[in-house]
Assembly symmetry: C2
Homo-oligomer: 178 residues x 2
């Protein structure tokens, strides 16, 4: 998935310091993880060096100065290119969620296609888990049952979202109301 591109994508939400990026991932880190500072800061440096992001040092009072990064036009182009190139073979939930976080950078048809692809993929996994023969191993049974529950919940979520998004926007009821 490339954490470099992901971090770049997060900068489209708002300009952020390394510390900010870490905080913004806190709520979902149990699903996607959160990069350590040891990889985060170097990544921001390299984005800045390559001209994909610009850095501003913000001195606010007596607090330690913050280095705030903003995505540049070049960065937006690079991100768009990367987002549009095939996301096939990315089957993991983590990769899905990371891209989902960057949904603002997708066209509406692009987002719909993305969710539909995900739906098809998860449905495959769900089926594979249902078909499984009985195992005697408790752990395996629990794990398969858990996987089935998560797959089912994800498919239900995708159905809901696709209905909301794909429905031609009625008055005051577009993407905004999600």
């Amino acid at each position: 998935m490339s954490s470099r591109h992901f971090i770049l994508g997060l900068l489209t939400q708002r300009s952020m310091s390394g510390y900010d990026v870490k905080q913004s991932l806190e709520n979902l880190c149990w699903l996607i993880g959160s990069p350590s500072f040891g990889s985060l800061y170097p990544a921001l440096h390299s984005l800045s060096e390559d001209g994909l992001a610009s850095m501003d040092v913000i001195h606010s009072g007596d607090k330690p100065p913050r280095k705030v990064y903003t995505i540049t036009d070049k960065g937006r182009k690079a991100l768009e290119e990367w987002l549009h190139q095939s996301m096939d073979s990315e089957t993991s939930q983590k990769a899905f969620l990371m891209r989902l976080m960057l949904a603002s950078n997708l066209s509406r048809p692009g987002l719909i296609a993305y969710l539909q692809q995900r739906h098809a993929r998860v449905a495959e996994y769900q089926e594979a888990l249902q078909v499984q023969e009985e195992t005697s191993d408790l752990g395996q049974r629990l794990a398969y049952d858990y996987g089935l529950a998560i797959a089912t919940a994800e498919l239900a979520w995708l159905d809901r979202m696709l209905e909301k998004i794909a429905r031609p926007a009625l008055a005051g009821e577009g993407l905004d109301s999600i």
Copy 2:
């Protein structure tokens, strides 16, 4: 989480070759991933070298010989030790599921405690996602909504399992009927 211990744990289900291990993870790889052969084979070698697993070469007809690994007593001891030492700070879904797959190696109270701990942790994340203020960013809204749906589904699953497991086993309705 240490893939080495995880692989060792999988060998408690049945004796397996490297190829078998990979296949057995196929159905859940979208949630926990699957190690590449480049890490899997060396891991099995090292387990064998350390006496935690024994290796048998199986020649079946004209097919390429398979190297089947079996966990040893020393391996079981090492696994148990590792399973009982603190699993705190492991908050990720992946780590949870990996340990869940090894549930057969836990005592019933140990399993219950594990599920309860997980419940408490996921409930925290669920709450954090609910409390979140409104964001204008579509991706963030989608991602948070997705996270909320997954957290809710997982909590429901944990409730169901805890009810099944914690209930004093009635006639013919113990852990087996999960």
